[in-house]
Amino acid sequence: MKNKISVNVNGKQYEGEVEGRELLVNFLREHLSLTGTHIGCDTSSCGACTIHLNGHAVKSCTVLAVQADGAEVTTVEGLATNGELHPIQEGFKEEHGLQCGFCTPGMMMTAVDLLKSNANPTEHEIRDALEGNFCRCTGYHNIVKSIQYAAKKMNGATA
């Protein structure tokens, strides 16, 4: 049986018909072709599929598409505004926070959520917040620096 859903993704309203078992990540990737959100595992462990659901970071492989009915979703494709990179995107580029790029969208979505609740996190707090996001390339070293870069930039902007 198919279920009708209506989801606001990156500011645009989408209607779709999904199976009850269909995951939100699948809806984003297969129905909307928003392939910036990646699938890295099948146990909700790696965080590559992290997006924002109603403003909070969630693993979109752990949310059913029907649960997103009526919700607001932000994916990596919605981070930049009018072609201007979000500070977290800038941070990842400036601090070499990515290599293969596969974990990067999920990392950035988690980081943005962290910075919302903690504008000036310590290194320890950053590493703690990234516990649910795996990276195999960077050893996390420059990801921490990228998030610190973004924090500094965002604090500067709001000061």
């Binding site: 910036g36 990179l85 050893g139």
Partner: protein
């Protein structure tokens, strides 16, 4: 004219990745495409008595289900790319590796059937309805047990499960005699456990057959598209090579596991014509645990002898190497020519013998994983050295300094000939260790360590000074060692009429940043802007040829090929410039993008020359139009990066919980093009090496069952497992390639693992627990157990 080389230029490839526009294999969609799901064996060893697909075929949306019996006999199976023969000259055992099993499964995850359906969900639903009748047989997973008499046999024609035995170095008797007369011998039995590469993007394949052109296209998550094409066309499917295009699009990490030609690639290519529709297969993570070639898995005994001054007099290394059930592409080379050849390390050891038995077991294939053989060699040597220092009550840093090969630059002084075949290119080993000691504050640390003895949190320090052989590799040399391929690299530098440059490289980037580093080289050498250069890689239809990326070879071999092509472009450009300037080529200088007549202000720009080459109205007589050159660069030798790593750990005596407090790495990777990218490579390597020491390990039980094949069970290193790394470097240029570079991809992973284990052993030893070894991964339980005596 060095505006870019040596600078931390921000990566040009980042934009697409940070905006979600990367194009990985699973992102590719083709009209009319079906989705494949592979039914895999849950048993390590079994006869397949029957496969009943009747119910599965009834599921709406199922397009086709194929088993091994549906694949023509003429399709041989996946080949091996390296042959290492027995000591007595007998040919290596090379059992068949069919695309889907024919009668017998030989490891958990062996492919039994493929279901193709309109969606992946439908394919999975149908796969659940396939009834495979297995007759389960005894299995063996451990390489040492596989060698025991009466062990279950993996292949009927491989007696004793032996793929080959192999030996390198001085005669065993000479080594034994040197050990017998040594002042002290340190001996260790240990396991270098199996690890799973875990690139964050799982493998995937999209295959399409185009009837109009009688041509196949395959997008595959690979580190070397051309090698896949060659192996698949010539050795598996018998399809003419020019009728297959292999694309490695954006690839989400490899770490070795995506070097190899996998059964799924050939299976999908063949099936795409068979069913007449494009097919996508994306590996699930749990499937990746079962089927991505694993790394390490050595079971070793090692003896190192010392004289009374602490000079190493001999080394005997004996290893059972697990190759798994089937031979993966480079598998035979890893425990032999990438392992035994590094057994002299940085030391003047006069007698070295390495003995390896390569074993088949009922487990997934083992092949190159970041470092490939060199981490295992380094682990063996460096564990022995720190342990010997403890046993002889000597300082581990002093012990190393006593044994280092003296500095040699490979130009004024010749390369250093080891006892185990290799000739090191250039090396200067003391400075890396001394710099690392300075960074760690060694004397103060020892005071802190002594003070901590009275508390519940004890401290330890571990060393590792490593060398690796990379920049793989001279074709004739590897050919003599059994490689069935050359290991050169190609590069084409195509200057467009407007002076913009497209570079086609046979190297492949899956995170290493080629699009930036290679562009820096081109922009610098040609004196043009970085934005005027584009690096194209990963497509066998646009790149002439390539041997791909692994063995820290991209810059040393692929980068050198680019330099060769640039030289050809500039040579021809000079002829055009001389014509335009009415001067002789010998009278011209090239700098900052223009040719200038020496001693004058007469010049012509690179852009004017390139335009003239494509609009050759006023042009040198007899010179061909165009400005486009290819080169194939075959290196003269391996390159030999080296370094010193130091780990500091804190152990909770109550629980055994071990915390990595600091990690210091001083590496020498030769000249550096982009320091930011090199640092990033070191960081990532360190995390993988430390991960093996502290967290990771694939566990097979005695029935051959993989018991931790998911992220719920296999401990992947996380951000909060590491401190920020403290790194530095020295620079000893490679004397034999035009860039003087050595390679940085594997260094971190090669040096770090023993440093961490050594630190834990040091902490325990200094606290009175005379423990020689903690098996990796060093879980709190294992460390705690070690302290209980």
């Amino acid at each position: 004219m060095t505006n870019y080389i040596g600078k931390s230029v921000k990566r040009v490839e980042d934009k697409r990745f940070i905006t979600g526009q990367g194009n990985y294999t699973d992102d590719i969609k083709i009209p009319n495409m079906v989705h494949a799901y592979i039914v895999r064996s849950p048993y390590a060893h079994a006869h397949v008595k029957n496969i009943d697909t009747a119910e599965a075929l009834k599921v709406p949306g199922v397009v086709s289900i194929l088993t091994g019996a549906d694949i023509p006999e003429a399709i041989a199976g996946v080949p091996c790319g390296w042959q290492v023969d027995f000591k007595n000259g007998d040919t290596m055992k090379e059992p068949p590796h069919p695309l889907l099993v024919r009668g017998t499964v030989r490891h958990v995850g062996d492919g039994v059937a493929v279901v193709m359906a309109e969606t992946k969900a439908i394919a999975k639903d149908a796969a659940d309805l396939i009834d495979v009748d297995y007759d389960v047989l005894d299995a063996v997973a451990d390489p040492k047990k596989a060698a025991e008499p009466g062990a279950p046999q993996v292949h009927p024609d491989c007696p004793g499960n032996l793929c080959f035995d192999w030996e390198l170095g001085n005669p065993k008797e000479e080594v034994a005699a040197a050990l017998a007369s040594a002042h002290h011998v340190t001996e260790l039995d240990f396991v270098n456990q199996r690890v799973v590469p875990n690139a964050m993007e799982t493998r995937g394949v999209v295959a399409q057959y185009d009837t109009a052109y009688d041509k196949y296209t395959i997008w595959t998550s690979t580190q070397n598209p051309h090698l896949i094409r060659l192996l698949m066309c010539a050795f598996v499917l018998g399809i003419p090579e020019h009728k297959v295009r292999v694309v490695g699009p954006d690839v989400g990490g490899g770490f070795g596991s995506k070097i190899f030609h996998y059964a799924e690639e050939a299976l999908l290519v063949w099936a795409s014509k068979h069913i007449g529709r494009p097919i996508k297969w994306t590996c699930d993570r749990s499937e990746a645990f079962m089927t991505d070639a694993h790394g390490r898995d050595h079971n070793s005994n090692a003896k190192m002898g010392f004289d009374k001054d602490g000079k190493i007099v001999a080394l005997q290394a004996t290893t059972f190497a697990n190759l798994g059930a089937y031979l993966s592409t480079f598998a035979p080379a890893v425990p032999t020519y990438l392992h035994g050849t590094l057994m002299q390390g940085l030391y003047t050891t006069p007698k070295v013998n390495v003995d390896v038995k390569a074993m088949f077991t009922h487990t997934n294939a083992v092949d190159a994983y970041r470092g490939a053989g060199r981490p295992e060699a380094t682990y063996l040597l460096e564990r022995l050295l720190d342990l010997a220092a403890l046993e002889m009550d000597m300082d581990p840093a002093e012990l190393r300094l006593k044994n280092f090969i003296p500095a040699f630059d490979g130009v004024e002084q010749p390369g250093y000939q080891t006892q185990v075949a290799l000739q090191y290119d250039s090396g200067n080993y003391e400075p890396v260790l001394k710099r690392a000691l300075e960074m760690v504050g060694y004397e103060n640390f020892r005071k802190d360590q002594a003070a901590a003895l009275s508390t519940n949190k004890i401290l330890g320090i571990g060393f590792s000074t490593y060398i690796e052989a990379c920049g793989i590799a001279p074709s004739a040399v590897v050919g003599a060692l059994g490689a069935r391929a050359g290991l050169f690299e190609s590069a084409q530098v195509r200057v467009q009429p407007t002076g913009k440059v497209s570079v086609y490289t046979g190297s492949h980037s899956h995170g290493q940043g080629h699009e930036t580093t290679f562009a820096q080289i081109v922009a610098d050498k040609m004196g043009i802007a970085l934005e005027d250069v584009e690096i194209i890689h990963g497509d066998s239809d646009s790149v002439a040829f390539g041997m791909g990326t692994y063995g820290s070879r991209s810059l040393a071999v692929g980068g050198s090929a680019i330099v060769k092509s640039i030289e050809k472009v500039l040579d021809k450009g000079a002829k055009v410039a001389a014509h335009l300037l009415e001067a002789s080529v010998d009278d011209l200088d090239y700098a900052e993008g223009k040719w200038t007549v020496k001693g004058t202000d007469k010049s012509v720009s690179f852009g004017d020359v390139s335009l003239t080459a494509y609009v050759p109205h006023n042009y040198p007589e007899g010179l061909e139009p165009g400005l486009d050159f290819s080169s194939f660069y075959d290196p003269a030798n391996f390159t030999y990066p080296f370094g010193a790593h130091i780990a500091i750990v804190e152990i909770d005596k109550e629980t055994g919980a071990t915390k990595l407090l600091r990690f210091i790495a001083v590496d020498d990777v030769g000249n550096v093009i982009n320091p930011m990218i090199v640092d990033g490579q070191i960081h990532g390597g360190l995390a993988q090496g430390i991960g093996q020491a502290m967290h990771e390990g694939a566990l097979y039980d005695d029935t051959g069952q993989l018991i931790n094949g998911s992220y719920m069970d296999y401990c992947m290193p996380r951000a909060d497992d590491f401190p920020s790394f403290e790194i530095d470097r020295t620079v000893t240029p490679c004397p034999h390639n035009p860039l003087g570079v050595k390679g940085a991809g594997e260094a971190g992973c090669i040096g770090s693992t023993p440093a961490v284990v050594n630190a834990v052993v040091d902490a325990l030893w200094k606290a009175g627990y005379k423990v020689k070894d903690i098996p990796m991964p060093m879980t709190p339980e294992r460390v705690w157990t070690a302290m209980q005596g």
